[in-house]
Assembly symmetry: D2
Homo-oligomer: 306 residues x 4
């Protein structure tokens, strides 16, 4: 018998079908532009054991900025509060790849979820790990139980080839002394972690502990402390949706992190993690159908953090 | 016998006593600068009937920007979603009285909780109410049951006398056509609603329905719809603390609205409203001791929205 | 027999006739919007005694920002270098009525030729003159010999009625403490001096001394010192054309001050002053045909400062 | 017998001796930081044949941004007005290496004399010349008659090693599509042309034609057309001194281009070119003693363009 959550997912998929190809697939790199616009997937992992999905829930896609949650998690575990000496935690109010604020604020990125912030987080990981790319892979493989999760090397290569803006950001932060490692090494790690390929189901697993105070149901152990969990979630709510955080909080009202690949991973504290995928983006760079799906999900379930 | 919440409040007051006079009392108008720096008060109104307080919980102070929640509430009830045609709902990432973003965004304020946004909200109220000042008073008197809540006319006069920045904001918004009414009329209403004098206990009453899906326990009826409630709360979380929203969410993690008078009114959805008062401000313009008190409260009670 | 300059003016008027109604007449106040788009006038006053004109050279129009040269002159004569404690002398790189830079630079306007700067200059005049409006009139009447030059009261009234942006600027500067006098008094003087009505011939007279080291040929005496003259001219070149100074210097290459009324008054040091009028403005807010006319004039005469 | 200009130079050197080590030597790369702070040199090349100098007028130094005049000259000769499709000609009002304006203006640099603009000019040269570095050397060797002028390879290497900000600018402009060539190739050319080592006397020769309508007295032929000359000069006046153009025009009043190496090359149209060198910089990044020297020179000679 289908779980209640499964029923909701099926309803949402049916209701949104007419919208499936809406939005604009990211085309700043060829590897992303090639994705079929009408793909849709959604998966849930609840704290009380209900794992369900709809659509292409087992098809991997490019998680892009969603991976910033993984690097932030590793950095918080490694450095704790010292991370905030090199990084803010305020919404930027500017596009995710803006250099303006960075100039006014002397190379201290506003938060870990904009590109400049993630570059600093990656730089921090280079202090802790000899090979951060392997550390990131190891972390997501462990937490999801999928040993074959990997970087999409074609996407990583394409990011490196076309990543002038990120290269500008990295050199700019470096010019303020806020990257300690070699720019090319930081960028290589950054481009790879953006190119992580995961399915909705895997992402739901990877975020489930954030709905349960940091304890992974699947692993049966604490992944992040209660305080770390609360903070990762609060940063998603205030900074996770580029410059649409306010609008997303208003419409959907739960902590979430989006990626330009079309994925959004979200958390309803105490209840569940939910991940949606649809590659067409809205003007704010977030999955258009994905946002609709999450809006409907919180409306149907009437579970909200507010 | 003292309630559990009362015990927490007493502990917090005792623990924070050494910090009481810390921070910088707002001095941009003489009427605020005169307030004793070491005042402290805190009050709770829980959805299941526990009303408690500590310190000067019945002493009124200048609520300042906290009143923006009341005007937003009235405007949402009057206009619904049409309000957002003249106003954004994104965090500003700039100081509360900045004109920079307003120029780049052609007179559309980022959100209703920065000054420019509240001026537009007040302008909207002038479409609905012949006398918005009376309407505001009536609303807060009704919801708190305190018939003698009033504007502090000395503060209102002082705001008007020294309010060059707000006068600049109002004329600037008007120059973009986003104020429909006379600038002086809008400013008079704005300066008065900032000058509302209420106690912590009254503010806790006034916010209690936001913790209970919109239904006021005291009044026994719906004040805001479930959807309006969710949205007012989400806007507090993403925009309620000036340019410290991210930091506040990270440390405290609940929707709140602060005022430069030293008050912070906060909501823990499903549980309670809590209001704290201490006039010394931190660098972000929020009550320094008030933020500490709320941080301890969420730590002690272990109730968080994340 | 026609002077050589008269021949040039006649040629230019004939050549530009097909362009006469081009550009967009300023319409931010009704009094300016009513001006016929195809008016054209040009006048010269040379240091060796050649005064000539073409078109409506004796018809008065609203000089608008050109009057900023007169107030700057009066302020420099009254205060000397102390003026620069309250004012910069750098091009703004932003629109003439921008508030952005003013916020970043704490109420110190970039230069005396943007609106905020002129407001500060007017405020300075209020320290020196009990009635700056009369002082301005007296100055321009004296230097031109036209005793009936006056403010266009309809334009002044219209400016005051619609001047939300200038009112915003004045209050904003005041909020930083960089206006010492009452905002309304400063604005009244400002709106009047913008509303000065003069003809091209009168403007040419009023600028002639700036072409002759400060000595007025007509008056036979020094109006500004050699150093003041050099500095007023250099400020026109670097700051006199709103955010088109570079383009104007590139194309025309002489110090000039424009007004949104459609006038441009220019100086060729050592040679002459030249004033042109045509109300249609280009995208930069400068007279479109006026700029063309000056470009041709410097090409024909082959006299340039570069 | 000493020429009049020689007498002025000797006087200025004597008068400024007490100031010689003032200002702050550029230290962003080690190769520049090592220069003795008290060096001083000045040289003149007049259109009527007076070449004179004082101090270390034959000692070469790093011309840095002064070389932007050479690349602009080559690009104007090669492309004419088409250059301005990729580049503005307005003062920036922001620091020379700012990225802010570039973001707001979508990768079109404000003018050819800020770093981003010079990168675009260099990119244009790559369309015309197979080896722009050689073309630049050839041009300055020809115009000065000094066949051994060369790039200081130590400075070029140091620029490349520490040039994170320029690398950020180049990648940023590239991200907007306004660099057509490979970022590393553009930067290599850029870093080399900044590292050009020339003496004051050589720079005076190299700018002399700009004082004589484009005709080089030494070469006896036209280097730039009259129109190109006028335009290169006007761009120096409005954009040549970073964000101190207005102040420099006010105090000195002649077209000039400065470099962070401590050189300033200036032009008095119709009269002479003058170059000064003193490595200590003022807050605006221009040679402190160099600016004083030019200010005195224009005061003593009473020759000004205004």
């Amino acid at each position: 018998m289908a779980s209640q959550y499964q029923i909701f997912l099926d309803e949402i998929a049916a209701e949104l079908r007419p919208h499936f190809a809406k939005g604009k697939v990211a085309d700043y790199i060829p590897a992303l532009a090639a994705v079929p616009a009408d793909r849709f997937a959604m998966a849930i992992s609840s704290v009380d054991g209900d794992d369900c999905g709809v659509g292409d829930a087992d098809t991997r896609f490019s998680v892009q900025s969603i991976s910033k949650v993984f690097t932030l998690t590793l950095a918080l575990k490694a450095m704790g509060g010292k991370l905030w000496e090199r990084l803010g935690r305020e919404p930027s109010g500017d596009p995710f790849n803006s250099l303006v604020q960075l100039e006014h604020e002397h190379g201290i990125p506003r938060n870990p979820y904009i590109n400049a912030g993630a570059l600093v987080v990656v730089d921090c990981l280079l202090d802790t790990y000899s090979d951060p790319k392997s550390a990131i892979l190891e972390y997501v493989r462990d937490i999801t139980g999928s040993d074959d999760i990997d970087f999409d090397s074609e996407v990583a290569r394409s990011e490196a080839e076309w990543g002038y803006r990120n290269r500008a950001l990295a050199n700019f932060v470096k010019s303020f002394g806020n990257l300690h490692h070699d720019v090319d090494t930081v960028l290589d790690t950054y481009f790879h972690h953006c190119a992580l390929a995961m399915s909705c189901r895997e992402l739901a697993f990877a975020f489930e502990h954030l709905a349960d105070g940091g304890v992974s149901r699947r692993l049966g152990r604490e992944v992040t402390t209660a305080q770390q969990t609360k903070r990762i979630n609060s940063l998603m709510l205030t900074c996770g949706l580029y410059d649409s955080v306010g609008n997303f909080a208003y419409r959907v009202g739960i902590p979430a992190k989006s990626g330009v690949g079309g994925g959004i991973a979200a958390v309803i504290p105490g209840k569940l993690s939910v991940c949606v995928y649809s590659p067409g983006l809205d003007d704010g760079g977030n999955s258009l159908v994905g946002t609709l799906a999450l809006e409907r999900f919180t409306a149907k379930t009437a579970i909200s953090i507010f």
